[in-house]
Symmetry: C2
Subunit: 484 residues, 2 copies
Amino acid sequence: MSLLEQLSAIVGAGNVLTGAADLAPYLEEERGLYHGAALAVARPGSTGEVAAVVAACATAGIAMVPQGGNTGLCGGGVPSERGDSVVISTERLTRIRRVDPIDFTLTVEAGCVLATVQAAAAEVGCLFPLSLGAEGSCRIGGNISTNAGGTNVLRYGNTRDLVLGLEVVLPDGRIWNGLKRLRKDNTGYALHHLFIGAEGTLGVVTAAVLKLFPAIAERQTALVALDDLDAALVLLARARRTSGDAVTACELIPRIGLELCLRHIPGIRDPFAVPHPWYLLLELSSSRPGGLREALEAMLAEALGEGLAVDVVLAESLEQRRALWRIREGIPEAQKKEGGSIKHDVAVATSLVPEMIRRCTRAVEAALPGVVVVAFGHLGDGNTHFNLTQPDGADKQAFLAEWSRMNRVVHDIVVEMEGSISAEHGIGRLKLDELAHYKPTLDLDLMRGVKAVLDPSGLMNPGKVVSFPRDGRGFSVRPPGGCL
Amino acid sequence: MSLLEQLSAIVGAGNVLTGAADLAPYLEEERGLYHGAALAVARPGSTGEVAAVVAACATAGIAMVPQGGNTGLCGGGVPSERGDSVVISTERLTRIRRVDPIDFTLTVEAGCVLATVQAAAAEVGCLFPLSLGAEGSCRIGGNISTNAGGTNVLRYGNTRDLVLGLEVVLPDGRIWNGLKRLRKDNTGYALHHLFIGAEGTLGVVTAAVLKLFPAIAERQTALVALDDLDAALVLLARARRTSGDAVTACELIPRIGLELCLRHIPGIRDPFAVPHPWYLLLELSSSRPGGLREALEAMLAEALGEGLAVDVVLAESLEQRRALWRIREGIPEAQKKEGGSIKHDVAVATSLVPEMIRRCTRAVEAALPGVVVVAFGHLGDGNTHFNLTQPDGADKQAFLAEWSRMNRVVHDIVVEMEGSISAEHGIGRLKLDELAHYKPTLDLDLMRGVKAVLDPSGLMNPGKVVSFPRDGRGFSVRPPGGCL
């Protein structure tokens, strides 16, 4: 029986896709950078089917590429051009297995769309706080595999902090059942943490126990106009202390970001009378109604009095809150409409964000005169989307051809400041060489060692996250026995 | 040069201990279960010295036992009776390297006593929320290596959730520098999570970046008398929702626990007029003063009205708060004074705690008539210290000889309920066989694989946490090449 016949026997013929039209959506990724090929896409409907699919591919020596919602930004979820792998889609693993509001846990299968997971929590008066732009289509298994961040990291942490347990199909097809609903469990190594953020290179996440929180009863949102970035830091720390640590979002918006939105996104208005160099979108949330607005008003009044803040708009309604968020959320799309955009997803310690933005801005402006810096993002957790829009009138392709060079300029500074070259989006395929360039050899060796233990055949999502030195023919040189 | 001469050259002769009197404190552990022996204790004063010590021992083929404050409860930090290892004490690694209140981070060396770390945070108006009984003597490297829990897990998580980065000396002496102060960093596998909770079996933690929180401005503490355990769960969920998730502690106290304290601990009084079967010590904390007491009073008034709670004492002062906590904190010592105590540190999903206590109580009473069950602990995170005090008049040693049998009775139930046989205290040496008995073979294989990658020679804290199958001569059989 051929591999495809085996797969059809496991998942049903209708769930093994091979035709070009059927395959297409699984082969393209969000940024249009890579155009993959595959032997087939398999769509298992249960953990058992995933295990059987993986075992069959492993036995046949065929590489596998796990894929969730295919919203990743580093090409980690799509196969390479070689076309010699099978894409394993989790889209049919959509069961919500358990809802436990007293325990504040939710057990879901990897193919559940994030928005569905949020809704399941809300139905029982709880909050699953992971929230990102793609939540209408990304799947929780992908969020887990990429350790997705989003806007609520400051208060609730990354996906890693929201996972209590996992079920994973290992590269040899065995099912590792780590689905614990426990808050405390010190019985050995924290294996589940290896799989979180491993971007599908150590196994296929098939289910997870998620941590819930009490539902939000009150939110207060303000857009604060600032003269300088350092004021933003002081404001943030003050907001955390005076609000009972109720700050759930602290988003930085540069003037150019608002201008691009005004220019390209219908329905967005400047909330202030005059332009300001920087804006901070501050949001406080609490499951206990009352007191939040007073705390925020008092803090902002004091900031205005000191000249720390120049102007403030406090949302008076849900509609006004949404309008303020649209300014922040519109920036990536507005940039697209301006033309080419070279992106960085970097992080430094929060207190270093102003310096990082200043240094990187000077460096890229010197390296590429006329480039328009659009630096925005999650100030609260030190993560800036330091994006570059093409100079006015420039040729888009010529500009985009500068991507690697600009990455080096920015990443050199960020790494020197002990930061991260990929705060949220992961490594995938896009940043494989950057990682090998910047990561200490010891770290790379440890990663290779872990990879070799869990995936000695190297068939699980090869060419992603972990790189191996290449020999003269360009083939990966894997250490013998796979150990350090 | 002998190994001891090398070590003296590295750390100074005064920091290599070999005399019996000098060694003694390092060889005994908290519970008096094990009486180890060692070639020497080395006390390095810097990460570089730790690395050199480890390299020297590794080259000489000598096993190493990292030790912090030696307050562990599973014998993980003391050497075995064989006397063929070197204890590496972190007690001189006491520098606080950086304090960053704007970033809410603190970078400390592994030998810092936990109380010192808490004070360093408080000095800059922040909170390091890890808090446990031994905080006056345990060291942060040990807390990290055991993923210590404590009383604040419900709100702030375990030590794992409080660590942003680590510096670790690997078993071959290389220094892995993972000291990041970042909230977001998706550049490869989460290697630091392997070392957290590894109990010194994968390397020596020498420094860490810790996460801080805004300082507590207001606490409200109540002792609630209940008729039954299930009411406690409802109360806890309600307290979380109505307080803005401000619950920082939720400790369960059985009547017998209070009675033992009244009997053995001077200064403790029964806060209520009549006995009650169960008590819940509930504490809410906020960095924003105001509103907390009203929320707690309203919640408790409602609970009293419904009959969910039978009586309530609300602390009116710091002294009253301390008095309430003394009741909870006095139980372990009161048990000691009653005689032999067989301990369990188990966890199940929070909603299953009442059922677990009921089932385990019935089972141990049937297995050992007359045994006195004292079940108390961190209800909020599902962790119960299900301890057994000897029957009245029983022989202490005969009772303690039942330890393993009782462990099996309790652990069988806990494992069947998908719980943990070691919620907080880890595995060490004490629970090595229990772990091998209960943990699925696949989990043990994965752990062995990770251990083999990081410590192929098996010299780093052997005989702890990870067991290897033994051959006919009783020697560990390690997989070839160390891989799965």
